[in-house]
Symmetry: D3
Subunit: 321 residues, 6 copies
């Protein structure tokens, strides 16, 4: 069976494919009969699905986070595609399926991005910072996590490889910032670019859907990044406590304000720039993603965005003017 | 008389020079005798000055904003220089003195900056936007104002030529942003860089000190920039109302939030980027200036900054690591 | 066919009438069959309507903002009337139907209100302000817009003619304020009464339902009112820039606080009074409307009002005490 | 000795008069010798005064709130008048001096205002409310307090008779509101006008300067007004608990928001209107007073007002346009 | 018929029992047929119930707050029990049913709690405060109300007897606070413990469900507690106004901040401690209740709590470590 | 020379004693001559001091944080004592003076408090938590720091030994909380009591006055306490990561809200209780200290407290009622 991508499904298409279950609800209509609403996904997107038959049985067979095989058909209502489920069964765990194939993925090649990142790290002048960064990126346990982790649960870069994409984008911005504002320490900017969100490799789980881990909820990615600094720096001869504290401060302050979860406000320029550029890259990615989604509607204005407390104009201004 | 610069005055130096009066207070000590405290300035900085003799007479002879000739001597108290006034008289208006020589100035050459800016404008692809920007920069009335205006009353780029410095810095940032985020309309970013604060040429007066104008207080620089768009665009054949509105929106929304004085929140990505990059360049300039001043104290931490609600670390991290 | 008014429909009534479609949703029940929920309106009110047959077909035939002919019957559930749709077709565009007949209307006669308003304007003493106001009200393009525009999308005076009603109410309040507080400039108060919301004639569209226009979203009614001042004042000999700025400030500051979208806080008493009286008249109209609606429930307390963050008591205190 | 009014004193005038001491500070200059700074007042205004001789002795002889006899002379510094004290002694308590003669006073006649108020109360239609109001105004203990109390410690109507002025102004506004918005219960509006701040007769002391009482700080004027309702209403046959609660709610909610000290938000229109009209009359009086003071400076813009978070324009617009 | 408790009902159980109706909604499915959703309760908990037959008839027979007899069966969907209604009729009012038997109840014996409370009150040293508290608890009208009232509508101690439970818990905390912080007046702490929420006996009705009364909405429990002090204290010889005011202040300030509805902030330590300990006991009870409910899900983390703006960890840490 | 305590100095007393310099300012009077204002302290309190002779010389001889020997005399102005300096010299560093003798001290014996604390720790049931706490208190480096550190720079327990006092007070409160709310894990409460502020031993320096350290400003006491857990727990066999995370969460969340500097909100009851009881003990100590100071004035109400945004009543209510 060749896997059809969700992105390509059209009205009336028959479906016989594997999906990851992302949401699952059972409700019931009049006369007590239940129906089931799912959100299923593959690497190309997500789709609503519904079933009316044998719902109770079906419902017991799988949970959110399982991969299921669904036969059914696409129906279009109000310009949105739905998958009407005829048959559904849990995929055989023994079949060697990889959850990763069902999660959204970065559009770029992670190996390429990592190589590009390492090239940038090699331009760091301070020996201790460079060593810290290289030891981190080349750590055989961390490296694959950095290459796979998403940068967020749902807001921006919320896909496999998203963290690395976000890090690399900020590194390039920092490279420019370092030359545009000549009084800034470029090494610390690059450190901040790479380490500010690195704790997300442990804050989020991303094996079968993206979710917060227990440690993520209890400690957060900042605390875990600080612990990583201690671990790595203690193995670098001459990495003194003062530089460690400067590095930890950049991490602890990168949300910019205490009400956003930073226990410390940025207290020197490089920490301030890390916080502002992180915010810039995140906001642009978030809004760009939001506009891309909304443009499918054909309207000139987006639906109301609670996150941004406004309607966005959907015109493609690059095209238009 | 050769003018000595405030920046260069040292303890015990005799003084016989012209200064601009920036603040003026008369208080009085025990037994009813008044003394006068001034803040005087020249292009290189500001200085406190005090007089104890003939204060009432002296006080009637000049006002804030006048240029005065002072004879006296520098005294050092608590590591701060003070000018003890022996004689003071208002400078002869007929002597052809230029207030500009007594205000802080950009460290760069305004003609060079303007030339650089015009080069950037010529790379704007949209004919209407490019024409609007060129007509603005080449307007014989506006051009000298844009070259002289400060970008703010006191916070950042608060000196003659500061507006142009701020505009040029943002243009370069926008040039990078336009290539880093390929989906952005670079022409609109450059428009925003140049026009977002252009109303400051009317919002601030900067002939004898920097102050708000009546129009600045009643309307603000955003409103005046929108009026300038109407004036300029109405003379460009084919500049339609839709593009005008897009341009006006970028201006009206560039403070980012309503509570910061923007009547509209940014509703498309280019407007959001203009607001964020303006904030970035302003904050970096503000903090950089603050740190430069504070470093003179020799302390490791700044005094408390009310504006930023924190103490800043004064280490020069570029030097240190 | 004589048009029956929504206000008068009762349980079991057969319906065969024209309505404006204000909301339209297609959902579907068990076994995949869709049903359609509409909100339809005429000049006397709004009504929920539902259809279960041929929903997909029906759904393709019309959009929100269309006038449709519906045959069906009223059913009462939980004391609320619903229109069960038996047949529905889009009204013939060629039939010369006027959308205006399907929108809520002011209870007063717009010509009368306009006449009354002009009488008040004639009592303005300052020649320039009076001329500006007369030129505006007598402008053949603007006059019908001022007579038709609503004062808001949904909160208060949200009906055809609502703007004029709101303007006239405030003019009368200002007439009293001017005499009660003898130090106030009555002419500026009346100017503010008439011009503060006049930009709503362009901020809102009200041809087929009340909605925000693109210009409304990008610029807002304050900016557009300022542009109107420039346009009108430039044709009045001797109308100087200082008075223009005073007038513009009244408009720009009439939301009272920056977080409510005013780029300037009121900086003189007349501007402050315009902001406060606008708030007073709007709030009273809003709460009065809310109470009128809620009283239909027969309860002593309203449902929770998110807008006002409270429950309102529904007793008619004028009647009661 | 004929009492000279502070309002009329000019530079170089000799002074020999009685004043109320409003502030008193002893500081000392170089060589350990103290000097004394006072603020003294009479019914026409306040004045700064200074003494350099026998300060310790002098300081022991009187306190803030005493009436003192001062001989000295007016000196002008920076356009502000100061009283240089040559001799000072505490006024003879036995001399029958009335503190009231040294506090700022309403410009109107309190008897006239009270008579006008009673006329308005007689137009209240509801027998119970009218009786409550008449019983309150005619109470031999309360009546003189209502006629003398200020409406605030310092912000607005902060003078003897200010409360009555404020009450009367709001009554007239309410008379208009009741006819302009015909659905409002005018009796409740008038009740709110008279009772909302009546607790200030106990919240403030105003015998020798205006200050908060202990009960004012612990309970506040709302709580004390509610207790007055209970006391008065319990003596009016047929005044039921429901009307009492409505009246108490108007008082308890008249600050409009919980963060302004109202334990309840206004929950019906009359309560809302009382809160809004109180705010209107107070703000107008406050800003009008502030502008009057500031205009003495001859500047076009006021000093920064912390209370309103802005600079005010000082032009007399009634005069100007 | 023996009453089965909701707490004990399991899947497939037949039901024939009396319940209190707490919520009632009629919706309708496809083809215009309505169905009814209820929330019913007894003293052990609440249950969702549904009916599809004769819904219109049924719906007219009873209202929220009625006791109804239901025959039907329990069905389990998504691990939640539902009661499928086969027959329903309103219970016979003449049958002597007590609503109290259908409301949630304190787990403790109210007589025991009251006895324990009275023992504590007898340890109050100040004669006036002790007498005030005893007179209150022994008042034949108030005593049964204090023993039955809930402490809140829904957040914490929201059951019959909850107020007394809350009062007793705080009394014990205050007993400790009084000895731990030896400078505190224990009598005032105990007064605050007992009186701070006593107005809830009138603010809430709890005969057929817990709801706000009209007086509760208009005045609030603080105002009513102050009135009770006046009533009780006026009958105790020598209970002076100063102590009354101290007591009233403790009540009026016990929400701690004006934005939480306290017209006064706590102005002495005992008032501050009453506010903080009330907050402590309420928050602990609220979160403990929330966690108990959520643990039924079997998850490690609670659903998002809007009230606390967070997810809670559900581990029983007392058990675990 | 026997050291006289500041607390005991009275008007006219001659002074010849050692003091710690806490503040130092040089200003100058009329005719250019400087004078010096100091705040000096010993373990019993602080005192203002002034010098007029040889100020420039004197000023160069010592800095804030030095111990100086002063000869002079007490003078009383406005009921406040001042020390008039006749002679001043820096104390001989070789004289073996201890800064500690010049800082405010806990009124209790630190050894006794530590012994009491260890007794409480021995009642902790969980072996890992008990071991962690004992290892911490018995650590030969940490123990003396815990016994000396203040709990804050200025707000509460701001004296040598203050941290231990605060810890012990909370331990006793937690002991009660654990029994009053039987569902709480008492071991975690005691852990939180001891560890929540333990990082203050590094956040504050307290050798010559209390001040923030660099690490304190960059990382804060929460981060440093988490590092201490890692260090200590890694040496306790079987102390698993889950318990570490629970412990760290209690520390990271103990400020209760993100805007108060906690990167995480409390997510289980024990963490919430630690945050609330810390707030309770700190606030009571702060207000109690404030009231003690203010009572010296003899007024009934305190000066305005910016920290608490109110005036406090100064009556000793324990004494009074």
């Amino acid at each position: 069976m060749e896997q059809i991508l969700i992105r390509e499904l059209k009205d009336k298409d028959p479906v016989d494919a594997l999906f990851l279950v992302k949401e699952k609800n059972v409700n019931f209509g009049k006369n007590g009969r239940p129906f089931m609403t799912l959100q299923v996904g593959d690497k190309s997107g997500t789709l609503d699905a519904r079933a009316w038959d044998r719902v109770e049985e079906l419902s017991r067979e799988f949970e959110i986070g399982d991969i299921v095989k669904i036969k059914g058909q696409i129906q279009l209502f109000q310009n949105r595609r739905q998958l009407i489920i005829h048959r559904l069964e849990k995929a055989d765990a023994a079949a060697g399926l990889s959850f990763e194939d069902f999660l959204p993925q970065t559009a770029r090649n992670s190996e390429d991005m990592m190589a590009e990142l390492q090239q940038i790290v090699k331009t760091v002048k301070n020996d201790f910072i460079r060593q810290l960064l290289l030891d981190t990126l080349e750590d055989s346990e961390l490296r694959p996590m950095i290459m796979r982790a998403p940068a967020a649960k749902s807001i921006h870069h919320a896909w496999i490889g998203g963290l690395l994409e976000h890090i690399l984008s900020i590194c390039k911005l920092m490279d420019f910032m370092g030359s545009h504002y000549s009084f800034l320490n470029r090494d610390l900017l690059l450190f901040g670019a790479i380490y500010h969100d690195i704790g997300k490799i442990w804050e989020l789980s991303y094996d079968s859907g993206i979710a917060y881990t227990d440690r993520g909820r209890l400690l957060g990615h900042m605390q875990m990044a600080c612990e990583l600094i201690d671990k790595k720096a203690s193995r670098i001869l001459g990495f003194n406590e003062e530089l460690r504290d400067i590095c930890k401060h950049i991490i602890l302050s990168h949300h910019g304000k205490m009400e956003y979860g930073s226990p410390k406000r940025p207290k020197f320029l490089e920490a301030l720039v890390v916080a502002m550029i992180d915010d810039l890259d995140s906001k642009i990615a978030t809004v760009h993603g939001l506009l891309q989604n909304e443009r499918a509607s054909g309207d000139r204005w987006s639906r109301y965005s609670d996150l941004f407390d406004r309607y966005f104009m959907l015109d493609d201004l690059k095209e238009k003017f």
